[in-house]
Symmetry: C2
């Protein structure tokens, strides 16, 4: 049973000051390199100036239907960053674009740089494919974030007018269109706008979109007929690509485009919470289990196949060809956080932690200005998630690039990293949840009382976390500390005295009247774990991956030589953890004894009978680095899953 009043509220990013540690470093890089790189690319590719509406037929580039979403996510990233790190130059850049948007907005509130300039006659005529509502959603998210960060209302006012226009255009009334976004996103954005403004219509519109999705007669079918098109002849071939093949309440399996799916279910979770809809929660539980039990990479990546940028069938997790889009892991984090609010359990945070430290972070280079869209778990020359080059089309190693034609990932990653503090804590009237561990100082209001929580830790390299409480006056509440799924042994000390607690739904709960100076020490044993996959994952059969804490490790050719597919770990291999302070600003590495079938010992034969000649594998000492930092040095082979021997 959903109880909105009792449900945890996430402590907002601006109340969590990350002043160092792992995420402090990532946020510094994000501010200094990533956000400026995203601005630069968004600017030079014409996305920002598209709002000048000066495009003319024949002029290249033509503003694209999803350019506004890239602009919006950059503005949103700036908004998150400004809240904790003021930056007049960032603010000036965003304000300049807001002024353009203000001038571009039509009198009826419509605001889309492509459709106003390029094809005004086609406004709202193809919701299935044209991304208008998707762009509106991202602009709304930017507006909510930026107005909160700066106190400036201009963008928010623009977007309220746009949302009002959308609200009048779509709905069940006779003169309204019964459509809904082909690329979900607006659903969750409208709930954010409702929460920021208190305007109930925005919530109702979001709920309408969710309830209408997949109903018969099918809107996408009808609008195709209205365009004079064959409604069965479209790129994606099936409405499952859009999660619109059936009403949401009947859906049980993750299908289609993964970012669409995970933005959608994020919005559904918001609506379930706001409306107390237990049936929707059941649907979400089914879908969550379907994903996490069948379609989740060990890195927190999702969406196995490039074909649909999305979900494959159950247990199909190709490594070299893994699409595992950066945006999909980000969208998974959004959904997981909303699931926690509906159902406070650490399993959602386990998935957030898995995605944050691995697949999501792999999306950006260590120095901060190069990006992956696809995050495979194995890399080999001439092969990439985008396809299998043959000798006719020999290609390089999969590598990060400055930008993409479809550039959803860089700005999305920038806003996620800038707002990562927003995933650290949740609060109920009687409890403070501590989800993630990283150096930070945070302001919580619990039961109306201000409480400061400070963490000191070298997590994820070290499992020791020291929390210090500061209160204005002694305050009774429960401090709920997440015990990560990967941790099999932990100790807790309260003001220096060891205490024993069993976790409840993944959290150790300490209730007391807290006062300034109280300290809690948590020690998570961080051993090197050999992880195996479910036997149905045929791509990982006979293989093992290495994990320590939340970090998934990989071998790279630069440290280990080539032919990594043949590297095997003996079951009794000694594995050693080291902190390498010279690598990527200081990261943990794993080394140990391994074996490798050595190509150099073979002749020209492709196949050998073991009865004729058996070539024993060669022992060597391997070095594994965190997966999230791969492809930052000399390009070469990479592999997460190693043979067992």
């Amino acid at each position: 049973m959903i109880n909105k009043l009792q449900s945890p509220k996430n402590l907002a990013w601006h109340d969590v000051r990350i002043d160092g540690g792992f995420w402090g470093e990532r946020q510094a890089t994000n501010r200094e390199r990533t956000i400026p790189a995203v601005y630069h690319q968004t600017k030079i590719t014409g996305r920002l100036d598209a709002w000048k509406l000066d495009w003319e037929p024949g002029k290249q580039p033509e503003p694209h239907i999803f350019w506004d979403s890239d602009t919006a996510k950059w503005m949103e990233a700036v908004g998150y960053s400004l809240a904790t790190h003021p930056n007049p130059e960032f603010e000036r850049q965003v304000d300049e674009v807001i002024n353009l948007i203000e001038k571009a907005q039509l009198p009826d509130g419509y605001a889309n740089s492509h459709f106003i300039a390029v094809e005004p006659e086609n406004r709202w005529r193809n919701l299935r494919d044209q991304h208008e509502l998707y762009c509106a959603g991202h602009l709304i998210e930017a507006a909510v974030t930026y107005s909160h960060a700066t106190g400036k209302r201009k963008l928010l006012d623009i977007l309220c007018r746009y949302a009002d226009h959308i609200d009048s255009t779509f709905g069940p009334n006779d003169r309204q269109k019964r459509g809904y976004p082909g690329h979900p996103e607006l659903e969750l954005a409208l709930v954010r706008l409702f929460r920021a403004t208190g305007e109930q219509r925005y919530l109702n519109l979001s709920k309408y979109f969710i309830d209408e999705r997949g109903q018969q007669p099918h809107y996408y079918h009808q609008e195709a007929l209205e365009r004079g098109e064959d409604p069965l002849n479209f790129w994606a071939k099936t409405f499952a690509y859009y999660q619109a093949h059936q009403p949401i309440r009947e859906q049980t399996t993750l299908t289609g485009h993964s970012v669409r799916a995970l933005y959608l279910y994020s919005g559904v979770a918001d609506i379930a919470l706001e409306t107390g809809d237990d049936v929707l929660l059941d649907v979400l539980h089914t879908l969550w289990d379907n994903l996490t039990q069948h379609m989740l990479y060990i890195t927190g990546g999702v969406g196995s196949t490039h074909t649909n940028e999305g979900f494959s069938f159950a247990y199909d997790l190709p490594n070299e060809m893994a699409y595992s889009e950066t945006c999909a892991s980000i969208a998974l984090i959004y959904w997981a956080q909303r699931m926690f609010c509906l159902d406070p359990d650490s399993r959602y945070l386990d998935v957030i932690e898995r995605a944050l430290y691995n697949a999501m972070l792999s999306g950006v280079s260590y120095e901060g200005s190069l990006f992956f869209q696809a995050n495979p778990l194995s890399s080999y020359p001439n092969v990439s998630p985008y396809g299998h080059w043959n000798s006719v089309m020999t290609g390089p190693h999969h590598h990060r690039t400055e930008w993409f034609d479809v550039a959803c990932c860089p700005s999305n990653l920038a806003r996620l990293v800038a707002s990562v503090g927003g995933y650290f804590y949740s609060v109920t009237p009687t409890r403070v949840y501590v989800h993630l561990y990283n150096q930070n100082r945070s302001q919580v209001l619990v039961g109306g009382n201000p409480v400061q929580i400070e963490q000191q830790t070298d997590y994820p390299w070290n499992g020791d976390v020291h929390l210090t409480i500061t209160t204005a006056r002694p305050t009774r509440f429960e401090l709920a500390l997440r015990i990560p799924h990967w941790c099999h042994d932990f100790r807790i000390g309260l003001n220096g005295v060891g205490i024993s607690r069993e976790p409840e739904r993944g959290y150790v709960v300490i209730e007391r009247e807290w006062q300034t100076g109280d300290t809690v020490t948590v020690t998570f044993a961080m051993s090197i774990e050999r992880i195996v996959s479910h036997p149905q994952v045929r791509q990982d059969a006979g293989r093992v991956a290495l994990q320590r804490g939340p970090i998934i490790y990989c071998l790279e050719e630069v440290d280990n030589g080539a032919a990594l597919a043949n590297v095997s770990l003996p079951s009794d291999a000694q594995l050693t953890y080291d902190f390498d302070s010279n690598l990527f600003g200081g990261v943990g590495t794993i080394s140990g004894d391994a074996l490798r079938a050595d190509p150099a010992q073979w002749g020209g034969e492709l196949y050998l009978a073991e009865s004729v000649r058996k070539i024993p594998p060669t022992p060597f000492t391997f070095k594994a680095i965190p997966y999230c930092f791969w492809a930052n040095r000399q390009l070469g082979e990479m592999r997460v899953w190693l043979l067992k021997s």
Copy 2:
């Protein structure tokens, strides 16, 4: 140094009477089911009636540019079959089509059902893509074969006129086109026509095509300009797809479309032999080694990738996604046989045997009327060599079908099986090579003397072969018996007395004055071999395949249950060979103890730390069947490469 006079001549199919055994059964099925099925499909799809030239704009189906090649290969298959098994109905069907072709042929000799009926204005305007010369080549092969089998010259005369027309159209003179086939095949066909007719011009034209290929200025570039097209904008993107990216004498690597490549190098080998061109032989040796050391499946399949229906990069041999086209293995057999004539060594026959018994034969169902174009080495629901179905487009298991839109394989397989006797023996003035072992009675002329060789054997299930010689008069010659690459222990008896010989280039040579009643007994030890791949083949890393004699084995779900990716063979597993007389008319099977990580023992977790819960694999008894007979029972998983444990 090529010495044409001393080089072995292959004993023709019509001099090898296969009256039972493994290939006797295959040929019976081919006659009774496959050739009639190919006729039926060729007929009902309109390929045969296309020669009536009654197509009109708008009529469906439109005769396709390569339909004539399908018709030709069916006629050629009938020709091979008639030579040893007369069949008036087959002959009537072919004669009917020959009459149509005769009427369709234009006065200048041109004969192509598509271009005459559909687009006469485009004759010879796009050699790169339009398959006219390719179809001509197959028609010539059919004509040579059919005229030899039946003594009827009509088709041969038609094709000589067509070849004369082609010869006058293409060449180095000013008024000739400097083109050559976009899909090679005519090169080898012209050499066959030269050998059948003695007309030197046909040989010269073949040599011209081979020497001109890939020269600058590039013909495909120029003809595209003449068509008013952008010469850089074409489907294949590179002339390497056509093996026309550089002159043949500069080629060192197998690239592009595999059937194109292997037909081409077959023709090049013919030209090298006929012209004594040692430089071409060096080129062919380099290319042969490149293929067999880097790009050959254990089944004798070639061409890893569907994208180009062809070669990938070195050591890239995907199993589930293996394209391994039936036609490519057939073309490989053609090339290998020609390499043997240039360079008499058993390694070429080892490849022929590998392809014949495995990848080629997998192309047809046991009952004979269903076909594979692609022959993967692993099968899993929703995945096929043609692509990776995702949950949006869930597909069945890869399975054989009655026909294909591009139907090159069925008729090609029919002609190969019908002519398989032509791969059994080669003869020089002083030597008879015995390449393949199967029950047969054959007529050889050695040094002008007729010799009959009879084989009695249950090969490939049993390694005992009994040869009986019958001569008109005592005849001195060398009997050269191939010792297959897979055989590590053999014994030879001459008239009941064991003799000891070391193989020379893979053949044990017995020289004597042979007379009627002489017998040779060869016993090839057939043990079950565990085969491993070169460590650079990352797809087979940590895995082992089972082979006995020339037969590659596989596990199917119907015998072993599912989750075959997780089946492992312990290094000390007892493996047992049995002859199962109830399966596919009697085939060898392998059984033994194996282990499998059992999905049933897992819960909902996708990943487990071995330190938390280690689920030991479950022992079971596996049963492996010959790969060539897979997918003939209940569809399900299949796998050649098994984990080692």
